[in-house]
Symmetry: D2
Subunit: 367 residues, 4 copies
């Protein structure tokens, strides 16, 4: 209720500030008996961690996770799994200049007005550093979804500022720091980022994320629709300003004959729905796009106010990602995994013994 | 948890099928002492009801609401407000043809697979008829938000298929059946719809919705962000495939210098954020856009399967909106109102006694 | 969250005042495919309804339930089941005398202070009339629990004021208006009540409720323990002031050797635990006792204050149960059914695929 | 939902096993601006910690708490407060004998059947060690309730096995290891416990807990009644089998004239209600009693079964409290504090702006 717990049955309760002693979370509701090691979680964290290329923040965090509970003899026990990541590289002094001013486009002003107090060091709780715990928690969800249903959840950067990046191959995504699915675009992306970084400015990005293998029937039909929960989940990622499912905003101009995916015994003939109809998974690939705004912490002068309401000029130094979208792919995957995991469990609560004799038809391979 | 309740403190629990005896809801958590009459609710329902022009479904429903509880001597008492709307114009026989087949783009197939049973009459629970109860419930929220804070929540159709409709004036919105904010576009819209209806096809639309007067500080900062809750709320509307807050997908190509709204003692200088930063309201106008897909029930032949998995050709008759987006404006307003109402109450639960001496700056008037 | 919804997955959202147009509820999360008729629900309502003997309130309510949604062709569909009971016999004028005063032992004063407004007619929302909807909702739960697991949930009056009523036979319970499990006690109970009623006073009672056939493993282990949820559920019944599970308060004086139920391959050797260990069902009968206070509305003079804070003498007329415990047995059964139903579903959400090869041992037949 | 989170707005999400690396919790929803130090929390933990007298378990745990987040410059920030307590004195080898058998009266058998896996070391998650985190979390609640409203929450042992301990003075409670409010009883209690310990058996106890200073109006009226939430909270404490509010089970034999607390402008004349009417606080002292069963881990031979379902004789060694009730007083206080804190916030969410001109009358001083 107070906004730091995600999910209903498979739930993640997150804590921690960017420059406090640690961040972490409690994962509750994980089914018992899942083989799980700390490496399973670390592997996903390493995909997101900062400092891995010159295009992202140079903060050095090993993001080493410690498992405090919920695993016994290599398996989950059904009790809460607590995960702890110590903060290592806080340079809180970098922030003394901004303790009395509000950075434009940042959460500084609203936190201050909402709570009357804020931990200004590195954005405190509003920092995207919090997303590390989501990635850690989602590693558990991803593993369960894959082992139980063969579900694969993968994402890639679809656009960086003006540069549209086509999808070519999944195995290219982890071969470059941009999570581009076309390795040939990388030189252009690097050149763009190098120039941007020098300018002191930042830029937006678009990420696509896809889940394959989700069975038909997940999602609640009216309010807790699978697409609504995905939209919610994606919008909880710092800097996200838009979410599309399937055809998304393109459907505004589509006709019904064009949009609605026809069905045959051999499968769906298209996937404009993005794998969800009436809020419930169809068995097709679930597809979503998200828009990520340019980082608000930039090295250029901006007009703002200070705590007494007086005008100031702000210029943010410290270590920031010039495009937060670059590290967003594993986070978007994580959020999709958390939604699916929760709905897998919610679905069987009510419908564990449903028998339906109508054959399930395969999804269309395109996305 | 089972997907038919919206909101945490100000909550709406909805029930009813398109062709059952009634639809309705229980509104819980309304503060006591609000003057409220059945007319306050009916007025909003009348804006959404079917059959008001030739461009929407010809089903005749008076959508007369009955208040069953929670109001005493013209005021809310703080106890649940139950609202009941009897269904009047069910022609269930229209649906006998589709009882054994699945309409492409519709929830038929997924309900059947999820539950092993479905009320096929008019889509049953998956029908957009359910949105009437949201509009009814939101009438209460709208009234409280306006009386308590002066908040105005209004929407308009921004695009119908290929026709972009500019925003001119709020008072034009209720003067035409499209909720267009530019009355001069209406002839073009009518011509487009007449042609579409004759063709038997359907089309998508884009709706914009705006809340003015929301104070700074509403929304929880990490998961239950105001923007995340709005995205969720909008995606729960039948047929919505995309949501944008503020600049939305346009931010992908923006630079930080362009996107981040500068602040001065006289106010924000722009509103790319759409009134939300770090998940918390800034005091600016909250702005959202939604993409609505073309109606899936169309009078043209489509390939599909039946309950035994055999191929069939489906053509949907019955009474349908050729563009569900046309009646979506009041529904989008309703969902925004429900989110804001809930967060108004959630905010004060934790922060009722916060004192912040920094002056609140005004929002930018543009949206 | 606002206190009118019971349960997490199988949830009941209740509405209505004693003298408003109607009471009712929305039951969400019911598994699909359960055969359910309005008679199944009416049968349970009739066990609780007022006016069936001279020992209870003479208010005449048929308590006829209408099913508004969620059932199609005689089966539940998995969508919300809305139940409506119109109030028929409101004599609101009876209450004009108490509109400005607070009855001692009643919720009048606290409602007034909490909300600044109250529906004083018949107690408004604080009336035990609300419990009718719990009985109606629980009829669905009872049916599912019995059909799926053979679970039987039954209760009886164990004590009326000073008269302890021994348990003899289940089939006697529905043969007398007290729900006594020993028909031979009835004359004594009747004589006691006749005398009490003439005196204008009221009296307390103790109810026992038992669920047989609950499988081992239901209940969450730390906070949402099955016993904690039962205690909560029972305490939500108007006038309940105490709850015991199994040996209850008797365990204060027990030794460990006496209290802890030994186990053998042939079963548990006793049932001091009341069928719950560590918050989780053991497979034994689940047993609970509740203490019900004497009705606060009595025909004798009592000191109180009025709305301006001045002293008054209150004497309550109108139609009241001189012992609310008499009609409490079906309500206590209902609450136990609702808890078990919800936990049946919660259990399988997380543990649907657990395999345990240790044989399940039978419970002890005593309670 | 998965049973490890307590509270709705002020919520505590708990994790950890008795013999895992650590236990801890995340406290969410704490209002910002509360002065809070680690010592405030440690002080309460020290009242509960083991090894402080010969009458309790000899396990040596310093129970040193680390605050990982949510406090900045000595004040709460409104963001989650994570608390960590490392386990120090695990002798897991003590438990190798019970890894394949189920101790009677313990949660061993039900965990095994529920999850198909269990951490048998020291009871794992079912250990009362988990209650340390509740005490830590409640220290925050206690402080806020006291600073904001002057609420005092205190408890004492009212009965140990057959020995009834009268209430004399609050300041005696912390002067003896039993939390007895009459220091003169201590020699008798010590003699009883010494004899019990030698016998290898265990015994039950009764604890009373009282909150003074709670304003009128807290608690939701129908399901989330304050008394229902207290009953739930108390039953979540390991080994609790019964809960009473106010007169509790004594009300069964009371008449209405005797039970209902009369009111005068000078205050209530008695407090049979235990400070709660219709589920809402009256302004009187809130009073509750709980029954705690004898420890199930005893050094005497008991019949049980093993994992293959074969009969065994179990005798539990390791370090256990011969009366878990002895250390239960701070835990019962903690649970009452958590309930009140949550309802303080819930109340103002809905009713922050209620104005009621009727004077509030004082409670009766007796309990």
């Amino acid at each position: 209720m107070s906004g730091n717990t995600f999910g209903e049955i498979f739930s993640v309760t997150s804590f921690g500030e960017s420059h406090g002693p640690a961040i972490g979370c409690v994962v509750d509701g994980c089914p018992p008996g899942l083989e799980l090691s700390v490496e399973d979680i670390q592997l996903e964290l390493d995909r997101r961690k900062p400092g891995t290329s010159r295009h992202v923040t140079q903060r050095r965090e090993s993001d080493t996770v410690e498992v405090l509970s919920g695993i016994f003899e290599g398996k989950t026990t059904g009790t809460p799994i607590a995960l702890l990541i110590r903060n290592e590289d806080q340079r809180s002094k970098d922030y003394s200049k901004i303790m009395d001013v509000f950075r434009p486009g940042h959460a500084d002003y609203v936190y201050w007005q909402k709570y009357g107090i804020r931990d200004y060091r590195g954005g405190g709780r509003s920092s995207a550093r919090e997303t590390a715990v989501r990635v850690a928690a989602a590693a558990i969800a991803k593993k369960w979804l894959y082992e139980k249903f063969g579900i694969k959840i993968r994402g890639y950067m679809a656009q960086l500022g003006p540069i549209v990046i086509p999808f070519r191959q999944w195995d290219m995504v982890n071969q470059n720091p941009f999570f581009a699915a076309d390795i040939d675009c990388v030189p252009e992306l690097e050149a763009f980022m190098d120039k941007l970084r020098k300018s002191g400015d930042s830029v937006g990005a678009k990420i696509s994320v896809i889940a394959e293998g989700v069975p038909v029937g997940w999602g609640e039909p009216v309010y807790d629709r699978l697409d609504a929960e995905i939209a919610y989940a994606m919008m909880t990622i710092n800097a996200v300003k838009g979410v599309e499912i399937g055809a998304g905003f393109a459907c505004v101009m589509q006709k019904g004959t064009e949009h609605s995916d026809e069905m045959t015994p051999a499968g769906f003939l298209s996937n404009n729905a993005g794998g969800i109809l009436g809020g419930i998974s169809t068995g097709q690939a679930i597809t979503a796009n998200i828009a990520i705004k340019p980082t608000s912490s930039i090295r250029l002068e901006r007009r703002s106010i200070d705590k007494s309401g007086q005008p100031v000029i702000v210029e943010t130094h410290g270590r920031h990602d010039p495009c937060v979208g670059i590290r967003a792919t594993p986070i978007a995957e994580a959020m999709l995994a958390l939604v699916l995991m929760d709905h897998a469990l919610r679905h069987r609560a009510q419908n564990a013994d449903v028998v339906c004799t109508t054959p399930r038809i395969p999804g269309n391979s395109s996305y």
